[in-house]
C-alpha cells in the first residue's frame, strides 16, 4: 500500500515540479530537463498584453460569478429548504445538480447553438461567459448551503425567531443570513476555484478579446515552453491560494458550529 501511495504522490507532484522547473529553465527542447536558469519567462509574462487581458477577464468573470451566485443561491437554497413538499425539494435538488452531472461540453454546445442565432447573438460576450460560469458553479454553493441549513436546523431557528416576534425580513437578515455566513464563504471559495480553472466551456464560449486565463494558457503552450510553464505556475498559485483560504474558512466554520 505504501508503495502505491508514493507512486500516486509522484504521479501527482511530478508534473507540478516539472512546471516549476520549466518556468525557471532556459531552453527546453527534446531533453528531459531544461538547460540554464532564468527568471526571464516571468518577466515576459507580466509584459504580455494578452495575458494581462486574460487575467483581467478572469478576475471580472470570477467576481461576477461569485456575486451572482450569492444573490441567486442564498434565496434559492432558502426557498428549497423551507419548501414543505418533499417532491418539490427533491426536484429542486435534482435540477440544481444537473450542471454537475452533465458534461460541460454539452452545456457549451448548447450555448453555441442558442447564442449564435440572430435572436440571441451573444456568443463571445463577457456576460454570456459569466452566465455559463454561474450555471456551472451555482450547484456547489447551493448544496453547501442546503447541507448547512439541514445541519443548523435552520427551519427550527426560524420558527423560534418567529415566536419571539420577528417577521420575515428580520428573520431573514438577523437569523438566516448570519447563520449561513460560513457556508456561503466556503461555497463561494469552491465556486471561485472552479471558475478560475474552468476551461472547457470558456474555451468554446469566450470571444477572442475576452479569453479567460486558462484558455489563454492553451495559446501559450503553442509558444515557448518556459513562458507556458510560468503562466501555468501563476494559475497554480491562484488555485492553491483559493484552496488554502477554503480550508481555513471551513475550519473556522467548524469551530463556530462545534
Amino acid at each position: 500500500m505504501a508503495v502505491l501511495t508514493y507512486l500516486y504522490l509522484i504521479f501527482l507532484v511530478a508534473p507540478i515540479l516539472l512546471l516549476l522547473v520549466g518556468s525557471f529553465g532556459g531552453v527546453w527542447a527534446n531533453t528531459l530537463l531544461p538547460t540554464g536558469v532564468t527568471v526571464h519567462w516571468y518577466g515576459a509574462l507580466f509584459e504580455d498584453p494578452s495575458l494581462q487581458r486574460a487575467f483581467r477577464t478572469s478576475l471580472v468573470v470570477v467576481t461576477a460569478t461569485c456575486v451572482i451566485d450569492v444573490v441567486v443561491g442564498v434565496p434559492a437554497a432558502y426557498a428549497l429548504h423551507t419548501q414543505a413538499r418533499k417532491a418539490v425539494r427533491f426536484a429542486g435538488r435534482l435540477v440544481s445538480l444537473l450542471p454537475v452531472a452533465v458534461p460541460e461540453l454539452t452545456l457549451a454546445f448548447g450555448f453555441i447553438l442558442l447564442f449564435s442565432t440572430d435572436a440571441l447573438p451573444w456568443l463571445g460576450s463577457t456576460p454570456l461567459l459569466i452566465a455559463g460560469h454561474v450555471v456551472l458553479t451555482l450547484p456547489y454553493l447551493l448544496n453547501t448551503l442546503l447541507a448547512d441549513m439541514e445541519h443548523l436546523r435552520l427551519a427550527e431557528l426560524e420558527a423560534v425567531a418567529g415566536s419571539l416576534g420577528a417577521g420575515f425580513t428580520s428573520r431573514f437578515f438577523d437569523v438566516v443570513v448570519p447563520s449561513l455566513r460560513h457556508s456561503v464563504l466556503a461555497g463561494l471559495i469552491t465556486a471561485a476555484a472552479l471558475s478560475i480553472g474552468e476551461f472547457q466551456l470558456s474555451n468554446l464560449v469566450s470571444g477572442f478579446l475576452n479569453r479567460t486565463y486558462p484558455t489563454f494558457l492553451l495559446q501559450a503552450f503553442y509558444g515557448a515552453t518556459g513562458f507556458a510553464c510560468a503562466a501555468t505556475v501563476v494559475l497554480l498559485g491562484l488555485a492553491v491560494a483559493a484552496a488554502g483560504i477554503g480550508a481555513a474558512v471551513a475550519r473556522a466554520g467548524g469551530r463556530a458550529h462545534g
Binding site: L157, S163, L164, G165, A166, D174, S179, A256, H257, G258
Partner: protein, 351 residues
C-alpha cells in the same frame, strides 16, 4: 382562562395522523403538561397554539383572543425547543435581547434587561459567551430567559429536557418550575417523560392517537384514571378483568376481591386496577390485616433494585405484581385492601 382549545381538529395532509376534537383549558399561571407516546399528537398541539400550523376546525383562544390567521410572530407566545435553538452567532445576552430588538427597544436598554433576565436563570457572568461555549443546561436556561423576556401571554415548552443527561434534567426541571412560578405564566409543557410530567404539572393531559384521554391533577390521574389505558400509562399497574358479583365485591380469575363498587350494578364487567405498591407482601398467612383479601401463590419473580423490591406472584392463572420499599422478609402471600382497588370501565373509550 388564558388558553382555550375548543373542538380543535388538525389532520396532517395526506395522512390519518393529527389531533382530533381537542378541548383543553390552561389557566393563568398554570403549568399544564401534555404527555403521550411519540406520534400521539402532543407536539402538534403545541404547534397549533404557536401558529406553525393552522387548525382544520375548532378555535384556539389566548386571553379570549382568537388565534386563527395570526402568524407566529404576532401571537406573543414564548417557545423553548428541545434543541434550544439558540442563534449561534449571537452571545447569550444578544440571544435573550433579540425579542426586544425586534420590538424596537434601544440597544442599551435591551441588553440591560437581557442581563437581568440571565441573572434570574442564574447565568450572571455568562452574558458575553457564545452558545457553543455553554453546556446543554446553560443553553436551555438562555432559551428559557429568551422566551420570557418579552412577557409573553403563555410559555410553550417542547420537550425542553430531553437533550439533557439525567442529572441535569432533574436540576433543570426544578429550574423551569421556579421560573414559571416566578413569571406566573400559563404554560404548556410537552413531554414523553412520565416522571417529569407527574412531578411538575399542576395538571397533566394524557394524549393517545391524537385524542385527549384525560386531563387531571397528577395524583388524580394516578389514583383514579379514566380508563385502563391511562391507568397503564401513568404508572405500573395490575389490570384484571373482573365482574361485580355483589355490592362491595368483585370476582376475578384468581378469587374474590372486596372493594368499593359504588356506581356499578352487580353483573357489570369491570377492569380492576391495583398499583403494585398497594400489594402488601406477607411472610405468613397470619400476618394479614383485618380487611382485604389475602392470596397465596408461587413467587415467580423477586428482584431487589435498591430502594424498591419488585415481586410477581402467580395466583390461579393470574399474576399479581407487587412492589415494596423496606420489606426484606420472605413472601408466601399477598394482601390487597379494598381501598387499593379502583374499578375502571372494561373498554377504552375510542378503542
Amino acid at each position: 382562562m388564558a388558553i382555550h382549545f375548543e373542538n380543535v381538529t388538525y389532520r396532517y395532509p395526506g395522512s390519518d395522523a393529527g389531533v382530533f376534537d381537542i378541548n383543553l383549558e390552561i389557566a393563568d399561571g398554570e403549568l399544564l403538561v401534555v404527555i403521550g407516546p411519540s406520534g400521539s399528537g402532543k407536539t402538534t398541539l403545541l404547534k397549533l397554539l404557536a401558529g406553525f400550523i393552522e387548525a382544520d376546525s375548532g378555535r384556539i383562544l389566548v386571553d379570549g383572543q382568537e388565534m386563527a390567521g395570526l402568524p407566529p410572530h404576532r401571537r406573543n407566545l414564548g417557545i423553548v425547543f428541545q434543541s434550544y435553538a439558540l442563534f449561534q452567532h449571537m452571545t447569550a445576552a444578544q440571544n435573550v435581547a433579540y425579542p426586544l430588538k425586534v420590538r424596537g427597544i434601544p440597544r442599551r436598554e435591551r441588553l440591560l434587561q437581557a442581563r437581568q433576565a440571565l441573572a434570574r436563570v442564574r447565568l450572571d457572568g455568562f452574558a458575553d459567551r457564545l452558545p457553543s461555549s455553554l453546556s446543554g443546561g446553560q443553553q436551555q436556561r438562555v432559551a428559557l430567559a429568551r422566551a420570557l423576556i418579552f412577557s409573553p401571554r403563555a410559555l410553550l415548552l417542547d420537550e425542553p429536557l430531553s437533550a439533557l443527561d439525567a442529572f441535569r434534567r432533574a436540576e433543570m426541571r426544578d429550574e423551569i418550575v421556579r421560573v414559571q412560578r416566578e413569571a406566573a405564566i400559563a404554560t404548556l409543557h410537552v413531554t414523553h417523560d412520565l416522571e417529569e410530567a407527574m412531578s411538575i404539572g399542576d395538571r397533566v393531559a394524557v394524549m393517545h392517537g391524537g385524542r385527549l384521554l384525560q386531563v387531571a391533577a397528577p395524583q388524580t390521574l394516578y389514583d383514579t384514571p379514566a380508563d385502563r389505558r391511562v391507568g397503564a400509562f401513568v404508572g405500573k399497574a395490575n389490570l384484571w378483568e373482573a365482574r361485580v358479583s355483589v355490592p362491595g365485591q368483585i370476582a376475578t380469575a384468581f378469587g374474590t376481591l372486596p372493594c368499593d363498587t359504588q356506581g356499578w350494578v352487580p353483573g357489570s364487567s369491570v377492569v380492576a386496577l391495583v398499583r403494585p405498591e398497594r400489594v402488601i407482601p406477607l411472610a405468613n398467612l397470619a400476618d394479614g390485616r383485618a380487611s382485604g383479601a389475602v392470596f397465596t401463590g408461587t413467587l415467580c419473580h423477586d428482584r431487589f433494585a435498591g430502594p424498591t423490591r419488585r415481586f410477581d406472584m402467580a395466583v390461579g392463572g393470574a399474576v399479581i405484581h407487587g412492589e415494596t420499599g423496606g420489606y426484606r422478609g420472605g413472601i408466601v402471600a399477598v394482601q390487597i385492601s379494598p381501598d387499593a382497588v379502583r374499578l375502571l370501565p372494561p373498554t377504552t373509550f375510542d378503542a
